[in-house]
């Protein structure tokens, strides 16, 4: 009696352990793709996945189901590095996909040259949201560094999206001063001294600005502001577009090792290429991302504010360099908060 109980406990323990390590295979009937993306693409890919499944069925006769995963861009990249089997990654900055190539070697280092527009099928820019009537009269980046103006933006060290906010300010200051880096540093320092709360992500900042009522201006991605305009309360805020801002280029890539293992390379490749097609670009534009296709861009031109755009390559270089100069420990951003300043 006693020994049989002991046996049962052992069996139960072993089956528990086995159960957790034996991979459970999903049913093989149809192809499933996993697209690991960042937060504000949820609505975009909801529409796009449905359109792509239809297109793929018509083209090849095979059905495909696309699963989505959303989260902070860096967090998502770490999940893929740690073994989340993503067929494709669609993240906020190339730096996060670089990290997957570098840390886990799941894709070649030159991944960005494999698709048009440096693997960036849609873009956005950085604009401002102010309180209704614009009481502080904020028109452009210069107004953000004025004394007494309170600016809300997330911490660029914890939020990938917020790095674009920062770079918008940096690029503006650089362009305005004719490339004087010390003036740009000064501008960044003044700007972040006006930031009373550094939330860890873009959602947090939006809550701080909208719900808590803190700050005179929220620096945000254009697509998020346009998409969320109704939810935010249309008659409580005004959208202000600076004259000059940065072209945010979210990037996409296959995860080679995963698609080869799962045998999904063809469909995953098709999934990414369809983003560049006229249909794909239309969906992108409907979700307020700026399309790459000139034809589609012209059609939707009225929904985007007129902003002169510069690229990251013009103001700093690639993401590796940007990260090292600006966001690494001790970089330009950290120097704003150095105690001796």
């Amino acid at each position: 009696m006693k020994s049989s109980l002991r046996l049962w406990v052992l069996v139960a323990m072993f089956s528990l352990i086995l159960g957790t390590v034996t991979p459970t295979r999903a049913y093989q009937g149809e192809t499933t793709l996993l697209n690991v993306s960042y937060d504000p693409t949820r609505e975009l890919y909801q529409d796009y996945n449905a359109a792509f499944a239809k297109y793929w069925k018509a083209k090849t006769g095979k059905s495909v189901t696309i699963q989505q995963s959303h989260g902070g861009s860096g967090k998502q990249a770490r999940a893929v590095i740690d073994g989340l089997e993503a067929d494709v990654v669609t993240l906020a900055l190339a730096y996060d996909i670089d990290a997957i190539a570098e840390k886990a070697s799941l894709l070649p280092k030159d991944w960005q040259s494999r698709l048009p527009n440096s693997s960036s099928p849609y873009t956005s820019t950085i604009i401002f949201l102010v309180r209704k009537g614009n009481p502080k009269n904020i028109k452009d980046w210069d107004d953000l560094v004025k004394p007494g103006v309170s600016v809300i933006t997330p911490n660029p060290k914890t939020s990938g999206g917020a790095r674009w906010n920062y770079l918008g300010a940096w690029g503006y200051a650089l362009k305005k001063s004719g490339g004087d880096e010390s003036k740009a540093r000064d501008f960044i320092s003044k700007l972040y001294k006006n930031v009373p709360v550094l939330d860890s992500g873009a959602r947090g900042s939006t809550t701080t600005f909208v719900e808590r009522g803190i700050g005179d201006v929220l620096i945000a991605w254009e697509n998020e502001v346009l998409l969320g305009a109704k939810d935010l309360g249309e008659n409580k805020f005004d959208i202000i577009a600076p004259r000059l801002s940065i072209l945010c280029e979210p990037t996409v890539s296959l995860v080679d090792k995963v698609v080869d293992k799962k045998g999904t390379r063809a469909v995953a490749q098709g999934y990414l290429e369809y983003l560049y097609s006229p249909e794909g670009q239309e969906i992108v534009a409907k979700r307020y991302y700026r399309p790459r296709s000139e034809l589609v861009a012209k059609k939707y031109a009225s929904q985007f504010p007129k902003v002169k755009l510069f690229t990251l390559a013009e103001i700093v270089g690639d993401w590796q360099k940007t990260q090292k100069i600006h966001f690494a420990d001790g970089g330009v951003f950290d120097q704003v908060y150095q105690p001796n300043q």
Binding site: K2, K157, T158, R212, G213, I214, D329, D334, Y337
Partner: protein, 292 residues
């Protein structure tokens, strides 16, 4: 069996249960923790030292450990009070109040953080009363303490409650009848009995607070050098794919927390021993001349 213990317990199942305990603890605690140390070992000593003694890291330790200690202390004082009220008095709604105590355990900490921020920010229910007094609750160090007090609330209450329930009212009555004043009864009769449990609760609340991330990031404002907690610094490092740097700071937290918890445990053992040397329950606990 090749090894036997000298004093075999008369209870059966020692081998199996100890084996399972060790396996379980290894899988859940020891192996993940040793992975932390392993990851750190990719740094040289000089690099490690540089990472863990950076001014920002030092500022974050001060805030994390300081605010956690303050929060745990607040919880110690008020936890004792709450436990006392819940055990010694019966009033309508007592059961409800009793279950409210556990809510901070059940609530996702992010929700707690958002709720607390909403209430304590300058346009919140409580925050807008505090603002004219010059007190900034949300987005300050005070906010960190508030969030940590919230998450640590149940610990002291739940550790002290059963001890108080076991403590006979007659003991207090006996103390009183033997001439002890109120304060003496509390100090010489109640405190010695309750203190070990209260210390355990304090240690648990403290440990919980040191590691808390979800609720604090919403209310602290996350300003470097001022309101940045150590767990946030770890996330910041991870966001740069600096795994080694992140684990280096984690190791410092682990070591400091472990040292502090060990100290508290030793204090308890020491307190317990002192307690045993005194014939507290047999003889009159209070010397009679104390009354004179």
């Amino acid at each position: 069996m090749t090894f036997t213990f000298k004093q075999r317990s008369i209870l059966p199942g020692f081998g199996l249960s100890l084996g399972f305990t060790i396996l379980y603890l290894s899988l859940i605690v020891l192996i993940p923790l040793s992975a932390t140390f392993l990851k750190t070992s990719s740094l040289t000593w000089a690099q490690f030292w540089h990472v863990v003694t950076a001014p920002r890291a030092l500022a974050s330790y001060r805030l994390s450990f300081g605010a956690s200690a303050i929060a745990a202390f607040i919880n110690l004082v008020f936890g004792l009070l709450v436990a006392w009220v819940l055990v010694r008095y019966s009033f309508p709604g007592r059961r409800l109040l009793d279950s409210l105590v556990d809510l901070p355990f059940a609530l996702p900490t992010a929700v707690a953080g958002i709720a607390l921020t909403a209430i304590y920010s300058t346009n919140g229910w409580i925050g807008h009363y505090l603002q004219p007094l010059g007190i900034k609750a949300a987005y300050s160090r005070l906010g960190v303490v508030i969030a940590l007090t919230f998450t640590g609330l149940p610990f002291v209450v739940r550790t002290v409650q059963p001890v108080l329930e076991d403590l006979d009212k007659e003991m207090e009555e006996a103390a009183a009848s033997l001439g002890a004043g109120r304060w003496q009864t509390i100090r010489r009769v109640l405190f010695p009995a309750v203190m070990p449990a209260a210390l355990t609760g304090f240690a648990m609340a403290f440990a919980r607070a040191v590691g808390e991330y979800g609720s604090v990031v919403f209310i602290s404002g996350n300003m470097p050098m001022r309101t940045e907690i150590t767990p946030l610094l770890i996330i910041t490092k991870l966001e740069q794919y600096d795994y080694a740097g992140a684990t280096a700071i984690a190791v410092v937290m682990l070591i400091v927390s472990f040292a502090l918890l060990l100290t508290i445990n030793l204090l308890q053992v020491w307190g317990g021993r002192r307690e045993k040397t005194r014939p507290a329950l047999e003889g009159p606990p209070i010397p009679v001349q104390a009354q004179a």
